[in-house]
Symmetry: C2
Subunit: 374 residues, 2 copies
Amino acid sequence: MRIGIVAEFNPFHNGHKYLIDCAKEYMFTQQLFGDIIVVMSEFFTQRGEIAIVDGYTRAEEAVRAGADLILALPYRGSVAYSDDFAKKSIDILIKCGITHLIFGTEDDITYFDKIYRKEQRHSTKLEIKNLLKTGISYPKIMQKIFDIPIDNPNFTLAYSYYKAIKNSKKNITLIPIKRKGQKLNENTVIDSEFLSATTIRNNFESDIVKNHISNNMLQAMKQNSITENNFYNLIKYNILNLGIENLKNIYDVSEGLENRIYNCNIIAKDYYELVDLISTKRYTKKRIQRILLHILTNTTIYDITEPINHVRVLAVNKEKTAIIRQINNNENIQLHQKLKKENARFFKHDIKVSRIYTIMNNKRDIFKENIKLV
Amino acid sequence: MRIGIVAEFNPFHNGHKYLIDCAKEYMFTQQLFGDIIVVMSEFFTQRGEIAIVDGYTRAEEAVRAGADLILALPYRGSVAYSDDFAKKSIDILIKCGITHLIFGTEDDITYFDKIYRKEQRHSTKLEIKNLLKTGISYPKIMQKIFDIPIDNPNFTLAYSYYKAIKNSKKNITLIPIKRKGQKLNENTVIDSEFLSATTIRNNFESDIVKNHISNNMLQAMKQNSITENNFYNLIKYNILNLGIENLKNIYDVSEGLENRIYNCNIIAKDYYELVDLISTKRYTKKRIQRILLHILTNTTIYDITEPINHVRVLAVNKEKTAIIRQINNNENIQLHQKLKKENARFFKHDIKVSRIYTIMNNKRDIFKENIKLV
């Protein structure tokens, strides 16, 4: 058996460790032993934010916590709508031969089944299509039709994983794990078994946080104190540089949004004001954050839709390095342990993304970086 | 009579005041009264540097010193080879009806005549063409054929003005003024009647400098202490962003220089190191500085060759505002006193340049700026 995990580990904390423990326990109770493979965002995350610690460090932590192989989800998978993020991540895991997918959720699979069946109906599809035309955001539509609370990333991501597996038509077992502690985007330090990653990111100087992440992770967070605002000048510059005409070609900039972005950019004083000014009821902040990253990285529709057949390995359990060869021999996907001139062509966009990230965050060039054997 | 001056006034100093005084004296001795019209670089200069004080402030100073009308030379004229800089500047002045051109030089017109005649010969043209092919820089060729000392911007610029007038075939009188004091690019504070602009820029904290520029200019310089290095992150970013493929389209990036720029950018630690790394015997530092500005402003060959038929007025002597109407009525060129939505299309590239300049130099938006009536 091979259990897959879709992750961001931003930062890696006790809740993530708990998920890996559950995967191990599942294997144990089934008396089946195998591998835990994780696909993880590297520089930028699904919500359009900057990863607070670099990918190699986060991957190393995950292997220390019991995962076997950590793969870097390319930019075009990581900075994406939850459905797209899930689809691209799970596609990689499937190509790596997973038989199970484990994920945190507060809901039952039967709940997902119910919604999925309703969503597949022709009449519902038509209703969604018509509502989208009126300018209502997708989360609001989900609330309206399925009575799903708005801004509930726990549900949204888990349901996206469910759909990706369902749509793949592969025989993959879902292992939903009841989430404990805070919801994904909660933000207050409480005396809880598990704090959310958001709480940890926003409060990493707090004493309580120390009990939820490793010392290693805490040190890495303290060293790497950049925020989206550090990239503000580059984003502001590239909006001016592209101009309204070329902003149109940036992925997800549609329906006249290019004018709005250009004009708000003239007025805004910092990154956060820019996001606030551009976002509306129709364009959620998360979407705008992602679009600003697409502008920063000059990501067009062509970069997003390229299929993912090559993936970099960030870390591996040193006793499980054979998995890499096994996966590569199957030829569904190629895993690369090091960037070289010979394979760089498969990672053109990610190398650019990495070098742009490096301007503000003086980390090692990924070209010189190697997988972590833990 | 209408006397033209091509200038950068970076910053405006006593040497510039002296040139304007000479123009006035010339008018007086000829018993002909008229106007002094200046065309001046605005944000970036001919040597590929950042103007140390904004255009409106420098223009205001020049009118206070006796000039009548100051026009902004568009980016495509200001950041250019000396011949191109001179040609575009003088073309604007000719369209404004100048009858005379005054300029500083250490050489006689007869010397320019001699070199010009030699340069016009078919055999010399062929020799220059062949030498360029061998990879020798243009200044070295000028030295080889005409025995002109290398890195002599005094000669180079004056001779470029001479050629521009000559090639225009207009009947314009040249008024060469013997330069006093330091050469253009000298850099030491000496007890001289006139210091070079370079000396003043590099030593504006020095006491002696105070006697060479107005207090107003000195204050503006102190407030505006940005250097090319402040734009380094944006330049570094855009080199990564463009990639080797798109760097090729940037003006003046030719013959495989795109690879050199891309690769040096990966290694360089700051702007000055980047210039040093890219420049060679063939590619002078000045040329590389200009190219880096073209990268910063995404300037392609198409931006450079667009004809200049619209120019912004930066400052005017309040008793001479009628000149603007007179020039506009002649319809050779249109002078604009304010940027508005209606005329912005004529200044697209310069508005972009201005906004990029503004990212690092928190000056007022030129869109909101108005000419200075002095």
